[in-house]
Symmetry: C2
Subunit: 361 residues, 2 copies
């Protein structure tokens, strides 16, 4: 069986070894005579999966003791609402840095709850770069500051983070969590839908400073409070057990290959291959992002004409490349090269880009 060259933006490629393990034990998890999907979430066997997943994440990211790790449902999009519901205090302001569509959507949900501000935005440039840290405008009444670490659609990424001390710093890391080492203590809440670097869709990971759990949330429905899930170790209600099992397997795989330092190197190699193909093409391929702001996870580019773009995409598809269409709001092409995408797939894509360029230059 040949595996596709999968460049999907999420849900996306998973490590083959992980899928093979899941397949081998799908009907009989650790001699229980049951699938992991059939285990009670209150059973020893499942609880072991659940807590091991959390521990692996702690190990891989060196998460300090004063943070909780949560597994929630609803995707990053539900976090957009839960964050202001839990942390936007009356009379204060939720301050968002806009670097793409996902930041905009996060901001939009905060507006349902209270006052908001924009600390910085590169919307005018169609989000081709990350704003200068020194240009960001904070507010003494900030309830929190929010940013998006990697902009899945536009293909930009923060390479240095602002250091925020006047208010909690909350970060949507959906599309680059675990792609590189991370100084967790610089952040107060990190969240990520699993479906890019962590596993299948249906699980959302939250890493939260315990201090934030002390806020008064008496007005918030039980399921929408971080407190609820922290107190019950994400077992308040039935968690997405199979998704968390897959997450655990992906984390184990990452640990086995050497953790975040190792994957960061590999991701750099992969990105170099594709950005290399762009840079060597004398503007035949044009990157959407400025060089300084390039994402190592989502490479966005266009060809000289819409016609050539379409021809590129259709030839790529024939050759077995999947998911290269750009998002409708940017157009062009996008190669998402998350942790689960092997170097080999990026080599194949770079080769194809070179030869398409040679033919059509």
């Amino acid at each position: 069986m040949k595996r596709a060259y999968n460049f999907n933006a999420g849900p996306s490629a998973l490590p083959t070894e992980v899928l093979e393990k899941a397949q081998s034990e799908l009907l009989d998890f650790e001699n229980t005579g049951m699938s992991v999907m059939e285990l009670s979430h209150r059973s020893k066997e499942y609880e072991n999966v659940h807590h091991t997943a959390a521990q692996l994440l702690r190990d891989l990211l060196n998460i300090p003791e004063d943070y909780d790790v949560l597994f929630l449902q609803g995707g990053a999009s539900l976090q957009f609402a839960m964050i202001p519901l839990n942390f936007l205090d009356e009379g204060k302001v939720a301050n968002y840095i806009l670097t793409g569509s996902w930041s905009e959507k996060a901001l939009k949900e905060a507006k349902f709850i209270g006052k908001t501000a924009i600390a910085g935005s590169t919307k005018e440039s169609n989000y081709t770069f990350i704003p200068d840290i020194s240009s960001l405008q904070y507010n003494e009444h900030d309830s929190y500051v929010h940013l998006t670490s990697n902009n899945t659609i536009f293909g930009t990424q923060w390479h240095t983070y602002p250091s925020v001390s006047h208010a909690p710093l909350i970060v949507d890391m959906s599309s680059d969590i675990l792609s590189r080492p991370l100084p967790v203590k610089n952040f107060d809440l990190i969240y990520a839908g699993a479906q890019k670097n962590l596993g299948p869709s249906g699980v959302t990971v939250v890493i939260i400073r315990k201090e934030l759990l002390k806020r008064n949330v008496d007005h918030v429905p039980t399921m929408l409070r971080y407190q609820t899930h922290a107190e019950k170790q994400s077992l308040y209600n039935t968690p997405p057990t199979f998704g968390i099992y897959m997450l655990k397997e992906v984390l184990q795989w990452l640990k086995n290959i050497g953790g975040t330092e190792q994957i960061a190197e590999r991701n750099q190699t992969k990105a170099n291959l594709i950005y290399g193909a762009i840079d060597e093409s004398e503007q035949f391929y044009k990157g959407h992002a400025t060089k300084e702001s390039r994402s190592l996870m989502n490479v966005t580019f266009t060809l000289p004409t819409e016609e050539l773009t379409q021809q590129f995409l259709s030839e790529a598809k024939e050759k077995g490349f999947v998911g290269l269409n750009g998002h409708r709001s940017v157009g062009g092409c996008r190669a998402s090269i998350y942790n689960g995408v092997p170097v080999e797939a990026c080599e194949a894509l770079a080769d194809f880009m070179h030869s398409f360029y040679q033919t059509h230059r």
Copy 2:
């Protein structure tokens, strides 16, 4: 490989054939060279899975055209909050019928949003029965009436539903949806976590009368509006794709074996086996529910002493029966015999109950 006798209350037993199919295509879904988990939720292949799942549910339950079928996240517990957020109007009352812990939890979330009332309750009897329909007390200001069709913990079930015309009737069918034919038009909103009769945890099914989607929900965050998900056919954000795929396979299985009429017969046979073992034991096994209110999904019972209960549970465990411990709030034993539990497992349990009774009577 021997399959366990799985009586888990949820997540619970899935049909072996469904798991085998999922296993066989786990690394290569329909010759895509990808796992179904690796497909983009915007791809033709996944969209086909998604819409087929909805259509199968429509076919199996004869869902009328003026209802939408939604696939959400967050479990039934998030519905407890979404329902009053969307439908509890200012100055009106959410009216709950209490038949167990889950009804109580649903009521508790409505209290965060607005005024509530209790149309009926059997709490005083420790929820051993379903209230008389004629005893229920409605209110002209009801925003909606809510009930729990099957009480997973106490083992009772509505066998005739009240007909409610002054307000929408909303029903938590988490633990008996698709166990029998259902007159959908008698209800305005039906919801169910998938992890009992429908598939793995992580998917929540909602069947909603389109009329209800016209309510003004301008104040509700986007992800918490039914409208949002209805308008986008449950593809507003990334859905739990693998869970929905499994749901589709379970629905296909149910259709293949003859649908709800057929499964209702099978479920009656299964329940008869276990209630038979109780009734033939001359009060050695004592059912928690009154006969009229017995659940065909969760059979709850105790033995003459706590010691015998513990001995029963530990011998059962040795013999390969899984999940027979009662919920901590009722104690004793509980056999959950959802659609995925084969008749054979119920025969084995009835046999064991008979022989344990013969030894210890």
